[in-house]
C-alpha cells in the first residue's frame, strides 16, 4: 500500500477518461431537434408578421398608383367646372357696370374679341345673329374640350385657355340673350352666382365619393375614431396623396 501521488492520480483519470464514451438515450436528439424547430418557428412567425404588413402596404400603394391616372382626370374635370364658374363671375361684373372694361384675367386676343362681342351686344341690348352663331359654335366644343383639357390641363395651357374663353362668352351671353337689358342681366348674375355656389358645393360633395383616397378616408373613419387615422389621404394638386399615417409608434403627417 503505497501513497498515491497527485501525478499518478491525475494520470490515471486522464488516461481512462480520454476515450471515455457513453451512448446517450435515443430521445436526446429528438429533444434537440424539437428545441431547434421551436426557435425556428418563433423566428418565422415574427418575420411573417412583417411580411404581411409589408404586403398590405405594397397592395395599397400599388392600388393607389394604378388608380391615380383615372383620379387625375376626374379631379381636373371638377376643377375645370370650378374654374369656369370663377371666370364667368368677373366677366359679368365688368360687363354690367363699365361695359368697356376688360376682364381682370389675363386673356389673349381671342378672348378679348369674344368679350368685346358680348359687350357690343349688350350695348345694343339685343344680340346680333352672328354673335349667337359664334356662341352656338362654341357650345358643342365646350363639352369636348373640357375633357381634353381635363386630361392634360397642366401640360397644355394653350389648349385650355381658348376653351375657357368661349365658355365664358357663352355663359355670359346665354343668360343675356333672353333678358336683353341691364336689370335682367343683374338678376341673371345673381342667379349665376347661386348656380356657381351650388355647383361648387356639388363638386366638393362629389370629390369625396370620386376619389379613392376619399373613399379610404371614409372607410377608415368608420373604424378608426382617433384624430390621427391609421392612414389618411388628401386630394392635392397632383391627385390623391398620403396625408397621414399612424401605426401606433410610427406616425407620419404631411403638412396641411
Amino acid at each position: 500500500m503505497h501513497p498515491i501521488s497527485d501525478k499518478e492520480l491525475d494520470k490515471l483519470f486522464r488516461q481512462r477518461f480520454d476515450e471515455f464514451e457513453v451512448e446517450p438515450s435515443d430521445a436526446v436528439w429528438g429533444k434537440i431537434s424539437d428545441q431547434l424547430n421551436d426557435q425556428k418557428i418563433g423566428r418565422k412567425s415574427y418575420s411573417s408578421f412583417w411580411m404581411a404588413a409589408a404586403g398590405i402596404i405594397l397592395v395599397l400603394s400599388a392600388a393607389l398608383w394604378l388608380f391615380r391616372p383615372v383620379e387625375v382626370i376626374k379631379l381636373q374635370g371638377v376643377a375645370q367646372i370650378k374654374e369656369e364658374s370663377n371666370l364667368a363671375a368677373p366677366v359679368h361684373e365688368p360687363a354690367k357696370e363699365t361695359i368697356t372694361t376688360a376682364p381682370a384675367n389675363d386673356l389673349d386676343s381671342k378672348l378679348s374679341a369674344a368679350v368685346g362681342d358680348t359687350k357690343v351686344s349688350e350695348k345694343n341690348t339685343e344680340m346680333s345673329n352672328a354673335q349667337i352663331k359664334v356662341q352656338e359654335d362654341v357650345q358643342p366644343l365646350v363639352g369636348k374640350e373640357v375633357i381634353i383639357a381635363a386630361v392634360n390641363k397642366d401640360k397644355a395651357p394653350l389648349i385650355q385657355e381658348p376653351v375657357s374663353k368661349p365658355v365664358i362668352s357663352h355663359a355670359d351671353s346665354f343668360d343675356k340673350v333672353g333678358e336683353g337689358d341691364v336689370y335682367a342681366r343683374s338678376l341673371a348674375k345673381s342667379e349665376i352666382t347661386e348656380e356657381i355656389q351650388t355647383e361648387t358645393a356639388v363638386s366638393t360633395g362629389q370629390r369625396k365619393i370620386k376619389s379613392i383616397g376619399g373613399l379610404v378616408n371614409f372607410v377608415i373613419a368608420k373604424v378608426d375614431h382617433r384624430e390621427d387615422k391609421i392612414i389618411e389621404f388628401k386630394d392635392g394638386d397632383e391627385g390623391t396623396e398620403l396625408a397621414g399615417l399612424n401605426l401606433g409608434l410610427v406616425k407620419f403627417r404631411s403638412r396641411k
Binding site: D10, L12, E21, P24, V28, L36, K40
Partner: protein, 189 residues
Amino acid sequence: MNVDYRNTIDSLLEGCKRGDRKAQESLYKILASRMMGVCMRYAKDSYEAEDVLQMGFVKVFQKISEFRGEGSLEGWIRRIMVNTAIETYRKNLRNLNVVDIDEVYDQPQSTFDMNGLELKDLLNLVQELSNGYRLVFNMYVIEGYSHKEIAESLGITEGASKSQLSRARSILKEKILKMEGLNYASNIG
C-alpha cells in the same frame, strides 16, 4: 483522431452553419457518445448528463456560425459542453450536496490494483464528489484548464480553486486506497 473522421466533421460544418437538419443530426451522431462521456464526468448521474448534452448541442447549433476554425470543431464543442455543465452547476449552486463516503462501498468492486480500476468505478468516484470538487477536478485534471481559468469560469478565487482541487484529490485517493484495501483484504482472506 484519424484524418477521415476530421474530414467528415469539416464537411458537416458548412451544412450545420446553413441550419441543415440532416447535417446537424450527422454531426450529433458522430460526437454524441463522446460528449456524453464529458457530460457524465460533470454530472451527478446520466439524467443530468443528458440534460447538459441536450442544452449543449442546442447551443452548438445556434452558435456554430461563430466557429472560426481556430482549433478543432470537436474541441470547440467540448468547451461548450463544459461551459453548459458549469452553467448548470452555478444554477444549482444552492442545492450543494455533501458526499457520503460510505456510499462508495455500496457496489461490489471486482478490481484489485489501481491500474486495474475500471472506468465505471472511476466515474463513480468522480460523480460522488460534491459538485464543486467535481467541477474543479474535471476542469483541471481532464480538460487541462488553469486555476485562473477555473476561477473565472466558476466565479471563485484561484486559491479556492486550488484548495478544492487538493481536497478532491485527497478524497479520490482515500477512496481508491480503501477500495484497494478491501481487495487486499479479500485476497488475503
